[in-house]
Symmetry: C2
Subunit: 136 residues, 2 copies
């Protein structure tokens, strides 16, 4: 329980996240601008990232390297998001989905499967696996 708190706690400034993810500030801000991440802010409006944010950025990076564009990444990420409120789960996800053609969706799912096959090792250890990339 406090593990969740830990991982969601806003801790890192963008400079650290750049080193951790090997992304540029420009990229990180661009992904935020396109709603792929929503880092917290200090009083002075500076971004603060959590472990989860860093994890997500690493996923984004992996998907970018697989050739996905922002729209595709957005779909993939929202698919693997845990069920939030039990109200309107279906409506929300269906609404989002209706923006894609069948072909696009199938291609996306294929790529997502490949991605998960490549990265899945231990069940709950997926997170650990992501974080371990910090230390190369």
């Amino acid at each position: 329980m406090s593990d969740d708190l830990r991982r969601n706690m806003a801790l890192f400034p963008i400079g650290i996240v750049m080193k951790l993810t090997d992304l540029t500030a420009r990229q990180i801000r661009y992904y935020e601008q396109n709603d792929l991440i929503q880092p917290a802010r200090t009083e002075g409006k500076q971004r603060l990232f959590s472990f989860n944010d860093v994890d997500r950025l690493l996923e984004i990076k992996a998907l970018i390297e697989k050739g996905l564009n922002i729209a595709g990444i957005k779909q993939v990420l929202q698919m693997q998001e845990p069920a939030l409120e039990q109200t309107e789960i279906t409506t929300t996800s269906e609404e989002k989905r209706k923006d894609m053609s069948d072909k696009e969706l199938h291609q996306l799912l294929r790529q997502q499967i490949m991605y998960r096959d490549a990265t899945r090792h231990g069940e709950g250890a997926l997170i650990r696996g992501e974080l371990s990339r910090f230390f190369h």
Copy 2:
């Protein structure tokens, strides 16, 4: 193994550490000035703290609240430091020790014992215990 890397990795600016430890910047810098901690620095000379640094600051804070002064804290911390190089362990520690009177040392040891009794729970989980204070 990479756990050690993680805990020693310089990640947090002083502003975050202030919130995490509930210490002021003044205090943190003062403790550094007195060699209780040695945080890393950015190229631009700004402090960067690791999880271990934060842990240590929490220990320092606990000792301060017990009424120890800097010299006392220094002794306690260096006692619980893991054996570093096998060369000159004895000489180094004895050199440090000879600065204290017997009375001071005994008082210190008494307090240290009380401290360890109060905080010890699971063996290697001491770190976890400390870190959990972040989330009150």
